[in-house]
């Protein structure tokens, strides 16, 4: 094996952290952690939110100085005073939130912060050529002259990877890289990461998603509460074992579902047509009935109209034609507020943008839709508000310093619990949950599933829109598959399996019906 990488930089055969401890005021984020990664390896770092994964990697990247422990590169102890030191030794990191300047081009972003080689002027032409070369070598499709603001999230991530490679990243750390990606983009990322590891890069991949870990990694280190629980080769474990290590107890992947007790039809959708943001038809005659006490899963590859379907029912997108009945009453011409009053609840896909007001407190978010119910006349009854908020926090186990904390400071899973708690506290007839567990960690996912099943038992008609087939299969009584703006088939839970659904999602429906 040669000691240089295709990117032209020296490789790191082994990076090792020994006995690393890092303390923050009030928390021991890392406690005597041992960790190592080798060239050609994809080492997954798995753990729930707050387990200390990011902290450990920031120590390796020179952002934090550990209180104890040391870092060895190819056997040599090293001390990093800043990320610049780590970069100089070939360690790169791609953060959960990208660090790109939107108004600059890809090449300019890559060049940013680099010392010019000759004179004062940075040779952008050279950077451009190098970006092209790296993108060819690693299969990262990026146009060096595109502006960052023009790029999708997935493309921006590619820019981050190129940036890391350009700067000599022999060891690249990716902090939850899939959290912001669509499933298609995730696939592309995985191809890139495999290429990189085959070329001799050492990769560390942080995540809390078990499926990804199983699919991609060679070795897995599980962290919990700042400590390493275990490090094992991928083939020696299964999902169940990993989940137990992560959470510290057994996790129910298949929530207990009492037998279905479906009642009257509460939501009826007939021949619904709507247009997407570009003004093109995206719902082309959707028909669906949802009964009290059942969960209807809507499966489909993203972009086949699921989002627009949810928005049209919720009143956020106007329908071209069709009928939507809620408990027999037509609602398609009603304003959002009257649909909410009529018993509709909606958990939107983009929870930070649409589900909460980040700067508002947890309590304020808890009364967002019905502030009038917590007021005498027009004046708020603050006692009632905080009683309501505290109750939601308690009964949904929302982790927050208090009901006065700004909602944006909660973790994704807890924000989702807050939204769900708020929607359900209004005792809805129909709940539309769009991607309710996307980006949410295992214990919160388990909890959310449990809540949905409970609501089903309580007689709510639930529409579950998800790209996660496992989730659809675990929860739904019936599964409707959406393809190009139509529901191409509805299967009973018993008749559905991943194969059939996959084919239907691709538009193949011959064998159904």
């Amino acid at each position: 094996m040669v000691a240089t990488l295709p990117s032209g930089h020296k490789r790191i055969d082994c990076a090792e952290m020994r006995g690393v401890s890092k303390r923050f005021p009030g928390v021991l984020a890392n406690q005597n952690v041992d960790f190592d990664v080798k060239a050609g390896e994809i080492h997954a770092l798995l753990g729930e939110n707050g387990a200390g994964k990011s902290t450990l990697m920031k120590v390796l990247y020179g952002l934090y100085r550990p209180e104890e422990g040391q870092i060895l590169l190819d056997g040599q102890p090293v001390t990093f005073h800043s990320p610049a030191d780590a970069l100089a030794r070939g360690i790169g990191m791609i953060h959960q939130h990208f660090m790109l300047v939107p108004s600059l081009t890809v090449a300019e972003n890559v060049a940013l912060g680099m010392k010019p080689k000759r004179g004062i002027q940075l040779d952008l032409e050279e950077v451009r050529a190098k970006v092209r070369q790296l993108s060819a070598l690693y299969g990262l499709k990026v146009n060096p002259d595109a502006y960052i603001w023009q790029l999708s999230v997935g493309e921006q991530q590619r820019v981050e990877i190129i940036k890391a490679l350009y700067r000599g990243g022999a060891l690249v750390i990716l902090d939850e890289p899939t959290a912001v990606l669509t499933p298609q983009e995730v696939k592309e990322l995985f191809v890139t990461l495999r290429t990189m590891s085959e070329q001799g890069h050492a990769l560390i991949f942080i995540t809390h998603k078990l499926g990804e870990v199983r699919e991609l990694s060679t070795r897995i280190t599980v962290m919990r509460d700042g400590r390493v629980v275990n490090t094992t080769p991928n083939q020696d474990v299964d999902r169940r074992k990993l989940a137990r290590m992560m959470v510290g107890r057994d996790v129910l992947f298949q929530p207990d579902r009492p037998p279905i007790n479906a009642g009257a039809v509460r939501l009826t959708v007939q021949d619904l047509h709507a247009k997407n943001d570009q003004g093109l038809p995206c719902l082309q005659g959707v028909n669906l009935d949802v009964r009290s006490g059942e969960i209807v899963g809507i499966a489909g590859v993203s972009g086949n109209g699921q989002r627009e379907f949810a928005e049209t029912i919720a009143g956020l997108r106007s329908a071209v034609s069709g009928v939507v009945l809620l408990d027999g009453k037509p609602i398609l011409r009603e304003a959002v507020s009257s649909r909410l009053k009529a018993g509709l609840a909606y958990v939107p896909e983009e929870r930070m943008k649409h589900g909460i007001i980040g700067s508002f407190s947890v309590a304020e978010n808890a009364i967002l839709q019905d502030p009038d119910d917590y007021a005498r006349g027009t004046f708020f009854n603050f006692r009632a508000i905080s009683r309501h908020a505290d109750q939601l926090i308690r009964s949904f186990n929302i982790k927050t310093p208090g009901s006065g904390a700004a909602a944006k400071n909660l973790s994704g899973g807890n924000i989702q619990k807050l939204i769900l708690a708020r929607e359900l506290s209004r005792k809805p007839a129909v709940l539309i949950a769009a991607q309710p567990t996307r980006g949410v960690d295992i214990s919160a996912t388990e909890y959310i599933h449990h809540v949905l099943i409970d609501q089903r038992s309580a007689g709510v008609a639930i529409v579950l829109i998800s790209e996660d087939l496992d989730e659809i299969l675990a929860l739904s009584d019936r599964i409707a598959v959406m393809y190009e703006g139509c529901i191409v088939g509805v299967l009973n839970r018993e008749d559905a399996d991943v194969e059939t659904l996959g084919l239907m999602m691709a538009g193949v429906t011959d064998h159904v019906n």
């Binding site: 939130h97 959290a179 956020l316 909410l340 407190s361 027009t378 708020f380």
Partner: protein
Amino acid sequence: MNLRISRSDFIIALAPLIAFLLALVAGGGILLVLGKNPIEAYGVMLDGAFGNEASLFRTLTRATPLLIIAVGICIAFRAGVINIGAEGQLFVGAISAAGFSIYAGAQLPPILLVPLTLLVGMIAGALWGAVPGFLKARFDVNEILSTVMMNEIAVQLLLFLLSGPMIDPEQLAQGTRVPQSAQLPEASWLARLAPPSQLHTGLFIGLAAAVVVYLLLWRTTTGFRIRAVGQNRDASRYAGISVPRYLMLGLVLSGALAGLAGAVEVTGITHRVVEGFAVGYGFSGIVVALFGRLHPLGAVPSAFLFGALLVGADKMQRTMQVPSATITVLQGLVVIFVVSSDFWVRRYTARRQARVATNMPITPEVTPATPSEVSA
């Protein structure tokens, strides 16, 4: 709800004050260039603003309209709309109030005349704010442009009315044709609190407005919706709030207060509308609001400070024989420093939030490119 104050909130609250002092330091440099001793000049200024009872009253009098305007500006900003139109709203408020009291004053009992005159001013200002509000709500017209244009229209309207339909009959009789209105009937004047100073009961109207707007924004469902729309229009829409209605309401209420300020100024001080009446008040009001951190109660000390600055600078100019442009420069400096302190504070809080969200220090030259979902 939103009442707890942390240490960093305290620093943020102090930022405008620091900016104010830095502006004075920079102004000192200009005074030096002019060959004046800045210490002496500022001494004169301080004396002019607070030196004795009379000057303190002058400061309070000057602060009154600024306070009322600023309180209104707070509402608009909280609704997420930027009202640059306070100037025009004030003009139409003043001229309408004046017109009402001149033409209807004789028919009304004095006890009703004052409140009705003020109400007319408010309504006129509200209508002047409703136009850009409607354009914003219905057609998404940029409110900065539309409110500025409404200012121009108001200026021309004022000039037209003062030189034509509403011109003082005495000016006509004497043939001098100075563009000004007739004097308001005495029954519509606001009571003076401490003659011979001009301090009048409008001060209490301003303080009451600050409290009322504070209660409106933080204690009522309407204010809650206004703030929700101001913070996140998407989430508000998803929650069933009629976003256009509250955008419009923000501008209407903001205009109503600017109109009230005009009515208070004309009934409290000038007793007639003259050309050049209250010019610049609307813009100073915006600065006062920013300086008060867009909080109606913050506007109280802020208006007082600005009143003092204006009154003190006046005295300084007369005593120290500096060009009158110096005063404008000094005010401009304060505006620039305060507005940029706002910018710095926003950067600081954004960074603090980013750090909370990602638990990491952010390198100075870069900003996160995507407002992506926080999933950690």
